[in-house]
Amino acid sequence: MALLGERKRKDLSFLQFTRLLVVYPWTQRFFDNFGNLSSASAIMGNPKVKAHGKKVLTSLGEAIKNMDDLKGTFAHLSELHCDRLHVDPENFKLLGNELVIVLAKYFGKEFTPQVQAAWQKMVAGVSIALAHKYH
């Protein structure tokens, strides 16, 4: 968890979110109003994508501060993603795994199998919490 405290954090939010839209292009369906998403470089340079990535990372920061009550922490966001945003919870798993891969890229050797395992639990918990209020 100490990894998140490092200065690379700012770059990570952008990259994780960008990658989702590049690696799984069907996830772009939620971002019709984001402007140009027509290519990997368009996505990387898109300011709305960057801004949204920051929002997501801020939420993850909250998750880390409240690891013992993820469901409580994400209750409101869960309702939002269900009722207003209509996001299939499968996407939370995709995003969680993207984050793990971006962490591996940026931390290399430090991102040991043990560190990865801890993060996998974390992102799984966040995915479950975000889906918890779906109805």
């Binding site: 690696v23 795994n97 891969i101 991102f111 990865q116």
Partner: protein
């Protein structure tokens, strides 16, 4: 789903680098798999799965070698992996969900070892390639 020319080129060129660390990458991928997804160990009750185990290393090598075979016959992955496809369908019968987990751990390992090469495009190409490999390996399941 099939690979574009660009995607094939990315995979083949990265494979050149990956293959120089093939055994270590295979071992690390499996270590990651067993730590993050302990349920996958149920397929290996006959193995010593501790870090550094000879069996782990041997199996990791096998897995990466098979990926290499798919890369070398990237225009005919089904042909290259036909025998392995039958093995998984009739003998090993590994639940299909596990191919995603293994693929993910391989991507994590490659990202950690080749960060500069692992661009978003490369990531997309590899993810797609590994999902094609996974569907070839499960296509005879039923």
């Amino acid at each position: 789903m099939s690979l574009t020319k660009t995607e094939r080129a990315i995979i083949v060129s990265m494979w050149g680098k990956i293959s120089t660390q093939a055994d270590a990458i295979g071992t690390e991928t499996l270590e990651r798999l067993f730590l993050s997804y302990p349920q996958t160990k149920t397929y290996f009750p006959h193995f010593d799965l501790h870090a550094g185990s000879a069996q782990l290393r041997a199996h990791g090598s096998k897995v990466v070698a098979a990926v290499g075979d798919a890369v070398k016959s990237i225009d005919n992955i089904a042909g290259a992996l036909a025998r392995l496809s039958e093995l998984h369908a009739y003998i090993l019968r590994v639940d299909p969900v596990n191919f995603k987990l293994l693929s993910h751990c391989l991507l994590v390992t490659v990202a950690a070892r080749f960060p500069a090469d692992f661009t978003a495009e490369a990531h997309a190409a590899w993810d797609k390639f590994l999902s094609i490999v996974s569907s070839v390996l499960t296509e005879k399941y039923r």
